[in-house]
Amino acid sequence: MGETTFAQGFAGSLTPGKRPALIVIDMMRAYYVEGSAFRLPSTSSVESAGRVLSAARAARIPVVHTRVEFGPNAIDGGVFVRKVPALRALIGQSELGRFMPQVEPAEDELVIVKQYASAFFGTTLQSTLTAMGVDTLFIAGVSTSGCVRATGVDAVQHGFIPFVIRDAVGDRGPEPHEANLYDLQAKYAEVIGEELTLTYFSEVGQGA
């Protein structure tokens, strides 16, 4: 990881609080396997998220996963499913709704099932983070312009300090990916790279 400490390598205006957590958003097969309407051009985001996830576990940083699942006929998907009919692929316990092997949740990790973009919307995520005393949220997942951005915005609105891990989030094209990271950095979050995240996690793990 080189010689740069987290404090030296970090130039943004937000600094992490006392208790971080990692959220891995919607890294389901739907985003990575051939034939899926949601498929991204690269698997680099999930490879990166896998490394970040291992580092979080090693540092005993709490981890929360989210995935999307709709009820029969996507009745709980409402207008969102009318806007994006391809979401019907995530009705019930579908193959596409399963997690990618790189980010398979451990048995003692929380999985939140959601229907909309933000991981906070219509879920108990806020309550869980409050109970754990978490003040800082590291965000990995897909897609940058959709659920990652919505979760980043809601995180700051709910009082958490959001860190979006640039290499561990992904989108269908570089333009929406970069444009949304730009907005997130400008308005709501700190956008940092995988390497700096791993350094920070290892410092937390050593009680730095």
Binding site: T124, Q126, S127, T128, T130, A131, G133, D135, Q157, H158, G159, F160
Partner: protein, 223 residues
């Protein structure tokens, strides 16, 4: 003999049912408390301490002299929180405009008739510079407000909830605070309602399900 605030209406049989089912265990106080003073405005206590029905001439939404008794206890808690440098937060109803009526205005038309003075904070426990003011339009201090953001940002883990009414804004706020995983303490003599029975039953419900219900004296000792 039984000094619980609901002992005049809740029977030993009622208590036994909840006890047998395993309700009402204590939550305790965390390391970072904040004080909520909800709706302690002249519209909820009247301009001076008067019996309930007389107080309605000041404001139809007044709870009367029970409110003034509670204000004294709120003042004791406020003094302790200020001394300890802990956050003090004032969820309150801002003056209503015609477009605010909505379903609540239809259900309780009296809320649409309050003059400006009615919305002023009761002087004895009024906010000062640095306190957090949270204007709200509905019973829960969390609904449609940034309250949870303030609490997360301040790293608060325990809420002392005071003010009124026990069955309305206090209970709605307590349920939401509990759902957000804050520890909740309700000092029973620092909250008030227009009906003693309704006040008592709601304290009982909150004590069984959502909060530690204690006297202000106990709360001050445990801080």
């Amino acid at each position: 003999m039984n000094d619980k605030p609901w002992s005049s209406v809740i029977t030993p049989d009622d208590e036994a049912r909840y006890e047998a089912a395993g309700f009402g265990r204590p939550l305790g106080i965390g390391s970072s408390p904040a004080l909520l003073i909800i709706d302690v405005q002249y519209r909820t206590v009247g301009n001076t301490a008067k019996p309930f029905f007389d107080s309605l001439h000041d404001y139809p939404t007044s709870c009367g002299e029970v409110g003034w008794a509670a204000v004294e206890r709120v003042g004791q808690l406020l003094g302790a929180f200020r001394k300890a440098g802990r956050p003090v937060i004032y969820p309150h109803v801002a003056p209503k405009r015609a477009y605010d009526a909505g379903r609540l205005g239809a259900k309780v038309p009296a809320i649409m008739t309050i003059d400006e003075h009615g919305y002023e904070f009761v002087e004895e426990v009024a906010p000062r510079e640095g306190d957090i003011l949270v204007p709200k339009r509905h019973p829960s201090a969390f609904f449609g407000t940034a309250l949870v953001s303030y609490l997360v940002d301040l790293r608060v883990d325990t809420l002392f909830v005071t003010g009124c009414t026990t069955s309305g804004c206090i209970r709605a706020t307590v349920v939401d605070a509990f759902a957000y995983n804050f520890r909740v303490v309700v000092p029973h003599d620092a909250v008030y309602d227009r009906s003693p029975t309704v006040h008592a039953v709601n304290l009982f419900d909150m004590a069984q399900k959502y909060a530690d219900v204690v006297s202000t004296a106990d709360a001050l000792n445990r801080l």
